[in-house]
């Protein structure tokens, strides 16, 4: 476990608030430091999310991907940010990372932690999204059509759930629905070829990769 941040120490907060220091505060579960960094930043909620929370959660996700932090760090960091935004701004400020309608779902799987982690990142990034919870492939396709969703995020822990993405892809294509699919979760990490196999457009190794993937899915640069 590496929990070292060359950018500074939490005592630096008043002088040099930074996303690196916020990352350190989140990993240490230091609510007070989080509040102090926000106050010292002098930023509006929207810019604080953009310039601090999103890069801090991305940094924690990258460290998890490299085996330097644990999923428990990722979860608690996301929870702290969610609590903080709720208390400080009464929820996340809206920031149109994607101009298109976004939905998040789990396919026939009852392991929901991955979806919650993605939700933390989306809220931290100010992305509005529809949360479909656990649904079947047929239900998902129907809801995507009804809600005119154009970017669909699917989190999977179990292999059979990951394989079900193929059914969603095929049904959306048959119906002529122009919806891009972003997938993530353990099966896709363990077998990267699975992403193409199921017809996903983008695959995220960590929850925090969902924001650049969303920008790409919306036609922008990551």
């Amino acid at each position: 476990m590496i929990v070292s941040y060359p950018a500074g120490h939490l005592s630096d907060v008043p002088a040099r608030p930074s996303a690196d220091l916020l990352e350190l505060a989140l990993v240490n579960m230091d609510r007070l430091a989080l509040q102090r960094i926000y106050s010292a930043s002098g930023l509006t909620p929207l810019f604080f999310c953009e310039q601090f929370i999103t890069p801090a959660l991305a940094g924690i996700g990258e460290k998890w991907d490299r085996g330097e932090l644990s999923l428990s760090h990722v979860y608690m960091s996301g929870r702290l940010c969610e609590d903080f935004m709720e208390q400080s701004f009464r929820g996340a400020p809206s920031n149109r990372v994607s101009e298109e309608r976004v939905a998040l779902a789990v396919l026939e799987d009852y392991h929901l932690l991955g979806k919650r982690l993605v939700g933390f990142v989306l809220r931290g990034g100010g992305v509005d999204y529809l949360d479909y919870g656990t649904v079947t492939a047929a239900e998902l396709v129907q809801r995507v059509q009804e809600d005119s969703v154009r970017v669909l995020l699917i989190s999977a822990l179990m292999l059979p759930s990951a394989l079900k993405v193929r059914e969603v892809r095929d049904k959306l294509d048959q119906a002529g629905v122009p919806c891009r699919i972003i997938v993530g979760g353990a099966p896709f990490r363990l077998d990267p070829s699975l992403c193409d196999e199921v017809g996903a457009d983008f695959c995220c190794a960590t929850a925090s990769q969902v924001l650049p993937a969303l920008i790409q899915a919306s036609g922008g640069e990551p």
């Binding site: 476990m1 644990s70 979860y75 929870r79 009852y110 919650r116 179990m158 059979p160 363990l190 070829s193």
Partner: protein
């Protein structure tokens, strides 16, 4: 050598006649018998017939007397959701944090699913005696709460209510030991202790050391037989020393981990088993099966202390029988000791 002799020799960190192979198969037994997964697990006789059929088909070195993880949660008041193409899922978590203060372990005899497992283990032991190791399974006290409470509620408990967390570990450790010992009494030769949350990929090692490791030590020391700790695809290098001190004899290695590095760290202390990628195995052709088997043997089999197996502790339903036969054949062919030109 019988499978039992082969495995015991490897566990003694010596070289048997060939590298032992554990195909940790559960769901494929249903396909052997032409049954749905739900139907298959509804009867202990089915599992006995399925496991014996797979032993004959693949000629590997264990019987895996494990049904599915959600059976343990059923004993705590939970439910199982079956699907026709994969392992049964645990249904809604049966526990809330406020129930932990007065929680007591459930009686095994009151859990029909666990009773079916014990019946199967009796039948399997009757069929194979001591020629093939029969492996039972327990969920660790530290990992079971993912299904008891739900993963996010469990993480909240770990951070917000360490007092209740400690209490849950005590109750779960008592249940875990009783369940493991019941399986040993019924016919299992060894117990696989599934502890995916022990992996640093999942939980901060400092939290594991505060809660998970003491519970593991308590449970493993109370189980009256050999145990193997499996992190179910999770990397183990960051906690190898902890695992070695927990009382376990073996460690399962995840697919993202350097098998040779794990073997080197464990050498002479823990037997290593792993780490064929079960997810990728779905699409292996014969050349890939041979290459993967050779690669694992090359990395870790020298000197014994190694059992070839998958990374997760359960081979996915989507892996074809033909591929499993190719893996078994490659293990027999390339796993003969003395090994030729290996590094591990």
């Amino acid at each position: 050598m019988t499978s039992m002799e082969r495995v015991l020799t490897a566990l003694s960190h010596r070289e048997p006649d060939r590298v032992p192979l554990f195909l940790l198969l559960t769901l494929h037994g249903a396909r052997e018998l032409g049954l749905s997964i739900e139907e298959y697990f509804s009867s202990s006789e089915n599992v006995v017939r399925g496991q014996l059929a797979m032993l004959r088909r693949y000629g590997h070195d264990c019987i895996y007397a494990f049904f599915h993880a959600s059976l343990e949660v059923e004993a705590w008041g939970g439910s199982t959701i079956f699907r026709d193409d994969g392992p049964p899922n645990a249904g809604a978590p049966p526990l809330k944090a406020d129930a932990i203060a007065s929680l007591a372990p459930p009686r095994l005899s009151a859990a029909p699913g666990l009773v079916r497992v014990l019946e199967a283990q009796r039948g399997l032991r009757h069929a194979v005696g001591d020629s093939v190791p029969i492996i039972g399974v327990v969920m660790s006290p530290f990992s079971l709460p993912v299904m008891q409470l739900g993963f996010d509620a469990y993480l909240d408990l770990m951070f917000d209510r360490p007092d209740l967390m400690q209490r849950l570990m005590e109750v779960n450790a008592a249940f875990c030991a009783e369940w493991g010992n019941a399986q040993l009494a019924a016919g299992a030769h060894a117990i696989c202790y599934f502890d995916p949350l022990a992996s640093p990929k999942m939980i901060d090692p400092s939290l594991y050391r505060s809660f998970g490791w003491p519970a593991a030590r308590r449970a493993l020391n109370a189980i009256k037989g050999p145990t193997a700790t499996h992190l179910a695809s999770g990397p183990c290098l960051g906690v190898v020393e902890d695992l070695a001190g927990s009382g376990t004899a073996m460690v399962g290695v995840g697919g993202e981990e350097d098998l040779a590095a794990v073997k080197k760290r464990c050498c002479g202390r823990l037997t290593v088993f792993g780490n064929l990628n079960g997810i990728a195995m779905r699409s292996w052709d014969e050349a890939a099966a041979i290459a993967e088997v050779k690669g694992a043997i090359d990395a870790a089999a020298q000197g014994g202390g190694f059992i070839l197996s998958d990374q997760h502790g359960e081979i996915p339903w989507q892996v074809p029988e033909r591929t499993l036969e190719q893996v078994a054949q490659a293990a027999r062919e390339y796993g003969r000791y003395p090994l030729q030109g290996v590094r591990g």
